[in-house]
Structure formats: C-alpha cells, structure tokens
C-alpha cells in the first residue's frame, strides 16, 4: 500500500470531494479508489467483520455522495472521513446487536481452538489486534497505520488525547503479551 504524506493525501481527498460536488456521483469512483483500502482497514478494526466493514464503507460513500460539500470544506478531510466511517460502522453494529451476541460467543469458542498456522506477520498482527477491545485496537490502527497524532485520533474518536494515549499504551502492552509467546514458540522450534 502506497504511503502518502498526510498533507498530500488530504489535498487529494479535497480535490475528489470538489469533483464530486461539481460533477455528481460519477466522480465518486476516484474518492473510492483513493480511500477505500485505508478505510476498510479501519472499519474492520471497529466491526471485526469484513461484510459489516464493507457495509460501513458503502454507507460512508453514499453519505459523502449525497453531501459532498461537507467533505470539501472540512478542515481535516481524512479524519472527517474516518469519523464518518466509524459512526456508520457503529450504527451497523448497533443494528446487529442481537446477532452480535451469538457471533461473539462463536468467536470466543473459535479463539480457544485457534492456532496460528500462517507465517504471515500481517495475519498474526491482525489476529492479535482482533483480540484487543475495539477502543484500543482502533487507536493502534490510527496511530501506527494511519500515522495520526494523539490529538488527531482524539478528534476522530471524540475522546480526550490523554484517554487515547492511555488506550494506546494498554493496547501495546496487550499486543506485547499476545505476540511474545509466538516469538518464543518460533525460537523453541
């Protein structure tokens, strides 16, 4: 995934939003191509479920297509998009709450029997992130993969920067605990 400087990326998003405003929905494709792969990574962190994350992305894009002016005039378009995605993801989760309880039970059961067979580091990290509470894993994703500051993350999550920083610290501690045994296993093998 190509890493872009935050300023350039924000400018591109704004440009896409302006295009969308001037030329209509046909220009939504460029915004999708620019942001979807990053948004889905964050949405999956919130929903812990690929299909819900895709629904959240769709709802976000529809919302932006209907009112592109808000994104075009947003001071920080990328955090704004992340926030819309988060809200949509939470809304979807809220709707599916009764089903979610069953899914969580199934997930807990699956976790015990889960064995990391792949050597893929990204897969292992993703699995470790999945084991974190959403409030912590989303901070990690935004901090490390989205390269955002605690202040920016706090803006997206509507929390104080101190809360965000402490969630991040706890998340790293837990990740450390989850991933370290895997390292030892490797050494032992």
């Amino acid at each position: 995934m190509e890493k872009q400087s935050p300023g350039k990326f924000a400018a591109k998003i704004r440009c896409c939003a302006n295009d969308l405003q001037d030329h209509g929905v046909d220009k939504l494709g460029s915004l999708y191509d620019l942001t979807a792969h990053r948004l889905i990574r964050y949405a999956v962190t919130v929903t812990k479920n690929m299909s819900d994350a895709e629904d959240a992305i769709q709802a976000t894009m529809v919302r932006i297509a209907v009112k592109p002016k808000i994104l075009a005039t947003a001071q920080q378009p990328w955090p704004y998009l992340l926030r819309v995605t988060r809200n949509e993801a939470l809304r979807i989760l809220q709707k599916r709450k009764p089903i979610q309880i069953f899914a969580q039970c199934r997930q807990l059961w699956a976790r015990d029997s889960e064995t990391v067979e792949e050597n893929d580091e990204a897969q292992m990290i993703r699995k470790a992130l999945k084991r974190l509470p959403t409030s912590q894993s989303e901070v990690v994703v935004l901090k490390i993969w989205e390269d955002m500051t605690f202040a920016e993350i706090a803006n997206v999550l509507d929390e104080s920067p101190n809360t965000v920083a402490s969630r991040y610290r706890y998340a790293l501690q837990k990740l450390d605990n989850y991933l370290r045994p895997m390292t030892h296993e490797d050494i032992n093998v």
């Binding site: 890493k3 690929m50 992305i57 490390i144």
Partner: protein
C-alpha cells in the same frame, strides 16, 4: 518473527507490516457502492422535487384563499353603508368605477301606494292618520309638499 525489547520496537514491527496489512475488497464492492450512491442521489432529487411540488401547491392554495377572502371583503364593503356598488375596491385601493348606469328605485307617492305600504308594515294607526290628512287637504302628496301645507 517478532523481536522486540520494548514498545518502541513493537511499534516498529507493527509499522513494518503496515504495507502488508491491506485488506482486499470484494471486486464488485466498488460498483455496488457507486450504484448505491446513484440511487441515494436520485432519491434525494426525487424527495426535493416532491417537497418543491408540495410547497408550490400550498403557495397556490394560500394565494387563492387570500384572493377569495379579499373578494368577499370587497363585496361586503359594497353592501355596507356609505359604499357605492359601482366602485370596485381591492383592500384600500379603488380599482375603478362601473360604467353601468345605476337604476334608481322609483318610490310611488300616490295615496293608495302609501296606504298599501303602511298596511303591509302593520302601521294601522298611521293609515287612519294618512286618510284624515288626505281628506283635510286637496291634491296629490307632491302638490301638498310643494304648497307647504
């Protein structure tokens, strides 16, 4: 695999896998999103046109209602005392004067008509007084009026 002594190195490890952590989207997802956006947009336009239509209808209804009430006010003022039927009025503005000639009501002043009118209204006392008045004086009512009797 994972080699970290402190959180800083863990962060580095996480950052390293950042480029591998791309989650592939469904191939049809893009098209699905675009279709949904198009539908939402056309739904919004449809809703907007319905709202505009309703507003237009309400405005027309309100306007015609106001016109009707003004018309009834004009008619009422025509019938009111001191207003000529020949003058067309809209609110406080006089629009014109009718060209049709106003037919004055002819008042019959012969003795028999006067007596008949008084009988119709039940003024029997006045009927007797009028008969006495006629007997005392000669001529028609107009002649008596002009003479000053």
């Amino acid at each position: 695999m994972f080699e970290f002594e402190d959180h800083h190195s863990l962060e580095e490890q996480l950052m390293k896998v950042s480029s591998d952590s791309a989650i592939p989207l469904r191939g049809s997802h893009r098209q699905q999103v675009l279709d949904a956006a198009r539908q939402a947009r056309s739904r919004k336009i449809y809703k907007r046109s319905i709202v505009a239509g309703v507003m237009f209808f309400l405005a027309i209804t309100l306007l015609s209602g106001m016109r009707d009430s003004e018309r009834t006010q004009t008619a009422a003022s025509d019938r009111g005392p001191g207003w000529s039927k020949a003058i067309y009025v809209k609110s406080s503005q006089v629009l014109g004067i009718s060209t049709t000639t106003h037919q004055p009501v002819i008042i019959k002043t012969d003795w028999n008509s006067v007596q008949a009118t008084l009988k119709q209204t039940g003024e029997w006392g006045l009927v007797d007084a009028v008969v006495q008045f006629r007997n005392e004086r000669a001529g028609t009512i107009e002649q008596i009026f002009h003479r000053g009797d």
